[in-house]
Each structure stands twice: as C-alpha cells, then as structure tokens.
Symmetry: C2
C-alpha cells in the first residue's frame, strides 16, 4: 500500500490537525477526517476515502507545492435538489459512476467530487454556472478527460461539469468546410462525420476516440496535423462559452475573417476551463486528401535527421503533413514491450514522414525524388514506404504507441518540451549525461516539424531522488534555450507552478488580472493553469 | 471650400460654445477657437487650422456619432523637453512633417497632433508610455499609416508614436523559417529579406511598400495569402508589446507550440493599438514556392463561379494560393480609368486563381486538369493562364488596381464584408436593387476563398442621402446573414460604433473590461475600436 503514496510527502488532515507522513500505508490513515485530494504524479492511487467530508485539506507533493482547498462552499442537499430539478437524471452522485470522472486517465491525479452534472444545452450550462457562482461552488469543466497535466479532474470536491451530452453537430457548410458543433463531440466522431463528406478535422490526436472537441480547444491541443494545418488558434473560427457568472459569450461566427474588436475566443482557447466553459465551436476543416503516403527512415545522427528535414520541407513542400522522430531507445521499447517489428535496419534515429495531397501520382513522385536525394547523399541509411492504409497504420504505430510501451517499462517522468528545432535532441543527450546511471533510460521522440520533443525518463519504480535530479534541471535547461516547458499539453494542475520558466512575471500578472476579471470568485477550475498566488511553503 | 466638409454636419467650437453648421465654407469658420479634429469619410479636407489650441472639440459626422475630446492633458513645453531629451532629434514638432502623420492615406480622417515621436527601442517606447500615462497624455501608435478605418491617425491632439525607426530584423532561423523583427519593419522589406533566403512572408497586401509589420499585426491584416497560409493569429508566434503604463510584455517566443498560460499576444493582435504598442514580433514564414501560375477566367453567373471554386479546391488542393473575383462592373472600371485590357471575352464575373507549389510540372498539370474540367463542363466560358512573372503581374493588376480605378470614378462608399461564401454576391445584387438609380454603380470584388467581399458604391460626388440609404442597410443585411461588418480592415475610428452588428453586448462588455484593465487611463489610441460608451446624441 505504501506505493500508493509515492510522490506525496505528507498529508494534512484537518480533523487531527496534523501532518500525516506518507511513508505510512494508506490503510493506516485515520478515517475520521477526509483527505479531499491526493495529488501524485504516478499511477496507482486507486482509493478515495468516503468518510465525512471536512471540506478542508491540503496535499503536498514533491513536484508541486502544497495546494490548500480554497474557501468554496460545500455542495449541500439543497444544491443537489436544485441540480436534479435542472438536470433530471443527469445529476450524478453515484460514487462508482463518479470514479472515472475523478481520476485522470494517466491515473496520476485524483479528486473527490461528489457531483457530476451532464448538461445538454448552453442554457443549462449557463444556469449551472450562475447558480454555482452565486453559491460560490467550485466547478471543474470536463471533456473526454484525456489531459496529461491534471487539468481535467477536480483537485478537491469541485463539481464536475461534463460536456459528454453536448454532442450535436450544429451545421456543416460543404462549400467553406466550416463545421459548427457542440463542445462535447468526440473528435473521432467528428472525423467520421467529415470523412463521409470528403473533409477531415484539422487536428488529430492519439486520444481521438475519447477526447472532446471542446476540451481540445480549451487546451489548445496540438497533435499530428499541426505541421500541415496550423494551430487551433487559426482553424477555430468561433466559439460559444459560458462565463463564470453564467453569461453566454456567443462568438460563434463561422467566418474565416472577422476583425470586429478584440478576439475574445483566443482567451478561451488554451485557458483549460479556467476562464469559461466552452459550449460550442466552429472550425475550418480541410478537404480530405486523395492520397496519403508514409515513409519510415533511419538516420545515423540527429544532425542528419535535421538535414533530412530541410530537404523534406523543400522537396515535399505543400504535401508534407507530418515529420515525426523517435530515437533507438524508443524503438527498443516498442519492440520489447509491444512486439512491434522494426521495418528497417537498426539506426540511432528514425523518421516518420507523411504526405497528404490531392494527386497520388504527383505525391508519389515527390516522395520518390526526395527519397532518392536523401538516400544517395547518405543522409538516410535505410527506409521503407507505405501507401496502403493497413501498412500506413503499422508504421504509424511505431511512433504512436511509444507512450504505451513506456508504461510497460517502469515509472515514467514525462515532459512535453518545445525548443528551436536544432536543439530538441540536445536536451535528451544532456539529460542522459546529467542523470547517468540513476535513470533506467532517457528517451526522446516527437514532432520535429513543430520543434516539439516528448522527453521521457524511466526508472523501475517511482524515485523521488531521481525526480529531484530531473526537476528543475529540465525546466532550467528549457528556459535557457528559449523553449517552452509545455508545448501542447498545457499547465493544468501539475505544471502551473513552473509557468515562470516560460513566461515573464509581467505576463503572469496580466493573466491573473484576466482571471480575476472573468471569474471574480475563482470558481472555474481552481488550482489550474495559474501558479499559486502565495509561495505555499508549509512548515 | 464647402466640399471640404462633406459628411460633417456641424462642428462644435468651444470658444464660441456653439455648433457651427457645416454648409458654411471652412474659411468662414471663426479662427479664435480651434477645431481639433475633422472627421469625414471622403477625401478633400486639406487644411488644419493652426490657431491657439483650446484642447476641446467635438465633431459630428453623418456616419459616426459625435466624438468629444476626452479630458487628456495637453502637451506642454515641459513635455516636449522631456521627449526631446529622451529622443534627441526624434521628437518632431514641425507641422509640415507632421502633416502626413495626421492624415490617413485615404485622406478621409485628420487629426491635429503637434508631436511625433520616433523611438528606436522598446525601452524608449516604455519610457514614453510610462511618462504619458503618468501625465495622462493620449497616444496614437502609428505604423505605415495605411489603415482604411481611421485607426492610425490621431482624432484630436494625441501624441503620434511612430514605429518607423524600429526597423531592425532581430533574427531569422533558416531551419524553422521563424523571423523575429522590430515592429516598424516595412512588409516589403521583410519580403525581400526573406526571398533572398528562399522564404516568403505569410502575408501580402497591396500596401506592402509602406505598411509596417507591427501595424499588420495590430490590425490582424488579412490580404492575399490568407487562403493558403492562414491568419496572423496562427503564423505570429510571439510578440513584444509595451502596455499603457510602460510595462514591457515580452511574449516574443519563437516557438511553434507554447501552451503555458493564456495567449496574451492574441489580445494585442487586432487590437489596433488600443491595448498596447507592439514593438517586436516573431512570425513563421513559409518556403518560397518554386512555381507560381495564374489563371484568369470568366463565368456567366456567380453560382458557376462558386461551382468553379468547389472544383478548384478539390483539384488544385494544396497548391491553390488565391481565388479572387471581380464582377463586370469592376472590369469596366479598370478598362475605362486605367486602360487595362480585359485578356478574355466579356463575362459577368471574372476569377483570378493562383497556384504556388514546389514542383512546376506537377502544378501545371494540376492547373491544366482543372481548367479542362471547368471549361468542358461550361462552368467557365473563357480563360487565360500566365506562368511568367511579368504576365502574372498583368493579370493580378486587374484585381489589385480596382481600388485605384474606383477613385477615378467618383466618390466611393467602401465596405469590407465577410459572409458565408455562397452569400457574398447576393449583398451586391440586393444593394443594387435597394439603391436603384441613386447610385452611379454598385460593384463587388474580393477574396472568394475567405468569404470576403469588398463592396463599393460610387456616386458622382459625396451624397448624404445616398449614404443614408446604404447605412445601416449594409450592416443590417450583413448581420442578418451572420456576416462580419469588418472582415480584415478593423473598426478603427470609422466603424467602432457598428460593432454591435457583429458582436453581442456581452462580448463588447468584456472588451471594455479588457481595455480598462490594460489601459486604465485610456491613453492608448482613444476613440478607436470600442464603441462610444454613451450614445452621444447632441441636441
């Protein structure tokens, strides 16, 4: 049981008014009080105590400072009655149902919410927030709950406001390719809807089967198509959101151009549910490509990989839709743990290149010319190409299933770093040198085209000493090289206190003012995105 | 002289404390007081009175409500001394030099600023704003002064803060294509800089020879490449700005992905200098295309033009870089006034299609297949193609020089409307029906690919009755069809009071709060973007 509390140093229980050291097994914790949130950065915490709620708690982890529950109101029976009247049958209090909404999908963060609300309309969301704001009840907006930084689950007893029943396509214009839909539409469902109409979504993610488009927009998700179709900040044309006080902000214009005043939707994009609840979006969708090819290549060095990228951008030009990489350590992981076969000869680095275009003959010719160039100049040592969908999937799996393979390898410390592209692998190498034998492995993969490295460090089990060696080293290294400590995952609960590595104090101050302006009582997704106001050093 | 005051109904002069009817010739206006701003929507106002400044004034035009000078401080000799010490030789008070900075390039709006400041560094901008904020001196940030809505010139005696000497390229990364430069770089200079390095700017405008990139970003300029490379909201990766109180907001990251907190740069993009002065930007630049082709085609109906657009997007796919249109009335204007030759047989509608790609053979083949398809199906009645640069320019001139031709045709009422693409020409037709013989001509052209119509109505001279027939009809029509009353030009001074046609009151309220938060004394570009707080109906 002790393993359940890895990463948590000690817990504060109000009832006993003292700190409880966490090397004690969980089962020995007194049940008279209730710990309202246990925040740890590793899987395994599978139990929430259902004792009498004392509505105060504090947790300290070794990676983030202690979070204290803010003085929000506790949900009362009267509140439940109100919600049940507003959302009959859609006000959920069954702990078993709530379980999956309280825990993030990495199983690294757990809240203890006792209410899940499932509105179907914007008006219902508005009524919920108006009521919660009036009563000072904290709310955690939740989409598909696939976030990686603990942003989508409650920290304490926040009411969970799920968009899962807001899943209607509102309109699609086959001339402009503009889709308007509710926030709770699952990304993959939208993709199917569009593919039947010869269009595609401008974003694609590993979590597409679960994630909601509203959550994608709220976290400014990046993913696999960003290189080609750009960020959501360009493709999302409009959105509707409900602000903390219940006001509906309707900026749902389905127009490619609109310069009438400040672009408020941009404040909501990437705000992780802290400034408003996104209820609907309109997004510009590209035509479905007629032809897709994937090449999987090997390189002897990262410099050769970068040179290959330069040739690739020049020769594949407008049909290049992905340029991903993995190192040999990643390849070994997918070979060992998932029994995937390396389709080419062993190399220090592997590249996955995808083309997507409107003319198969032209695309294949471009790809052929490019491959001839990089193989004849020895930039690439070996390679294979797939044009059939099933073979394409096999190649993509080598890149997409690394996360899964890592889970089998031990405890993983995950970092999502953005850097000038020529620097991205240097961080992996420097980290390897820095950690030496303390880490089981240090691996790197990611989106070269976007300068986005997924750095993962593995140890057999969770090791606080190793973590202290990684952080803040990784953040300091990133800041020194003008990178971002969160390229596409956001800050959520886990990384909010590291924001100063990527943003100056003036910017954080403006962010705080925006939060205070739009959500004066701070009820929307508290403890997320913005750093703790006061250094919460607990004696 | 009376013509000089077309569009202005009457002027309020503080000294005489009465309204002066504007059918009086300007020369008969009493010189004891000074009119601090004359805002009219037509060219011709060529004189500013240099009497003793009374620092109060009000102007009423038939298109916008009266603007009263807000109680900002007047620039004193002490202020000038401070500026001269801070910016020796770059504090300009010569009225002749100031002339071109006080008048917009349409010559439709005139301010009466007596000071022009030319900082070279962000630190200087910071010191200027800190001082002005402290002293409550109003400031009008100015780039290349090529705006079309009166946003870039002072309305009264605001200090003009020009970015013209902030014209340094700070860095360029030839791997990522990310350019970082000061705000005052002229767009065309940046284009030349990049073309030498085999890249291009992701935006292109008619005003490229004068406009500053900072102004482009401050107005969220659209232009000719948006269809292909997306809006500045996607391509601008970072920016640095000075806020009203002098604080430098450094969000100049040159990263494609950065999800660390709210994206503050988006507030500055399109805020028309009302929230901060943009001092530097980083922008992602695409590779220079290896091959460019232009086709100029004729269509019998707008429906056929839309069908052609559908085929075009499908068959040209990723190499399509522009799909522009003009109607036969536009063609007649460029033929009559500029002596340009129609290269194809007369048609009700003309299309200009540009392709830009990485492989000339492929691009030409795609274009050929597309043309064969649309000509054999009679969607297109005639056409011509250019691949040589000089011939491409000739074809582009037919589209780009319409504005110039309109100037020769009479007084032009200009509207920049965004609509669902299938509706864009209906507005032109409805306007024609609505105005009947009252208008000399009603013409439409624009960016079909972006759903952006430039609607222009011509009368022999300025005609207030005609204007009353156009407005608010044009705005009501646009709102009814879910369009935007300003697609790419912004709101500036001229359109700020029409914002409610495109944005709900809740959104405008949030915008006001943002303005109050970032610029509490309202010194930055007052009278712009946001509507007048109080309906200023003067008895």
């Amino acid at each position: 049981m002790a393993a359940l509390f890895h990463g948590v140093e000690r817990l504060f229980l109000k009832h006993t008014a003292r700190w409880w050291p966490c090397h004690q097994p969980a089962s020995s914790l007194p049940l008279v009080g209730r710990v309202l949130a246990l925040r740890i950065n590793l899987p395994g915490l599978t139990e929430t105590r259902q004792g009498r709620c004392v509505h105060s708690g504090a947790v300290r982890t070794s990676q983030a400072s202690t979070v204290h529950r803010l003085p929000f109101t506790t949900v009362s029976q009267q509140d439940l009655d109100f919600f049940e009247q507003l959302l009959p049958g859609r006000t959920i209090t069954d702990p078993e149902v709530l379980e999956s909404n309280n825990v993030d999908w990495l199983k690294s963060v757990r809240g203890s919410s006792e209410v899940l609300l499932r509105p179907q309309t914007t008006e219902e969301v508005s009524q919920i927030l108006r009521y919660c704001n009036e009563r000072r009840l904290a709310v955690c907006p939740q989409g598909g709950n696939t976030g990686l930084v603990g942003g989508s689950v409650p920290v304490f007893d926040e009411i969970i406001l799920s968009t899962s029943l807001m899943n209607q396509v509102l309109s699609f214009d086959s001339i402009s390719g503009i889709l308007t839909c509710q926030a709770g539409c699952v990304l993959e469902n939208l993709s199917h809807f569009l593919e039947e109409r010869d269009f595609i979504m401008p974003l694609d993610l590993g979590a597409k089967g679960s994630c909601h488009i509203g959550g994608n927009v709220a976290t400014n998700a990046g993913g696999l198509r960003l290189l080609r179709y750009g960020p959501l900040r360009g493709t999302v044309l409009g959105l509707e959101a409900v602000l903390a006080e219940g006001k509906v902000l309707n900026c749902l214009a389905a127009l490619r151009k609109d310069n009438t005043g400040y672009d408020l939707k941009q404040l909501l994009i990437g705000s992780e549910g802290t400034l408003g609840v996104i209820t609907a979006i309109s997004i510009m969708c590209p035509r479905k490509p007629r032809s897709v090819n994937v090449a999987f290549l090997g390189c002897s060095s990262f410099q050769q990989l970068l040179d290959t990228f330069q040739h690739c951008r020049s020769m594949l030009g407008e049909v290049l839709s992905a340029f991903e990489f993995l190192d040999s350590a990643c390849m070994r992981l997918v070979e060992d743990h998932l029994r995937l076969a390396n389709p080419i000869k062993e190399s220090p680095f592997y590249i996955l290149i995808e083309t997507a275009g409107s003319n198969a003959v032209h695309d294949e010719e471009k790809l052929h010319n490019f491959l001839e160039e990089v193989m004849s100049s020895s930039l690439v040592t070996d390679g294979t190409v797939a044009t059939e969908e099933s073979k394409i999937k096999v190649l993509w799996a080598l890149r997409e299933r690394i996360t899964e393979a890592l889970r089998h390898d031990g405890y993983t410390y995950k970092y999502d770093i953005s850097l000038p592209v020529e620097k991205i692998y240097q961080l992996v190498e420097d980290m390897r040198g820095h950690l030496g034998i303390r880490a089981k492995s240090v691996v790197g993969y990611g989106h070269v085209g976007d300068g986005n490295l997924h750095l993962n460090i593995v140890s057999p089990t969770y090791d606080p000493a190793l973590l202290s060696a990684i952080e803040p080293y990784v953040y300091e290294w990133t800041a020194k090289h003008h990178g971002s400590i969160s390229a596409e995952h956001g800050l959520g609960l886990k990384k909010r206190n590291y924001i100063h590595y990527s943003k100056p104090p003036e910017a954080v101050a403006v962010m705080r003012n925006i939060k205070a302006m739009l959500d004066p009582k701070g009820i929307l997704n508290p403890y997320k995105t913005l750093p703790d106001a006061i250094p919460s050093h607990v004696p």
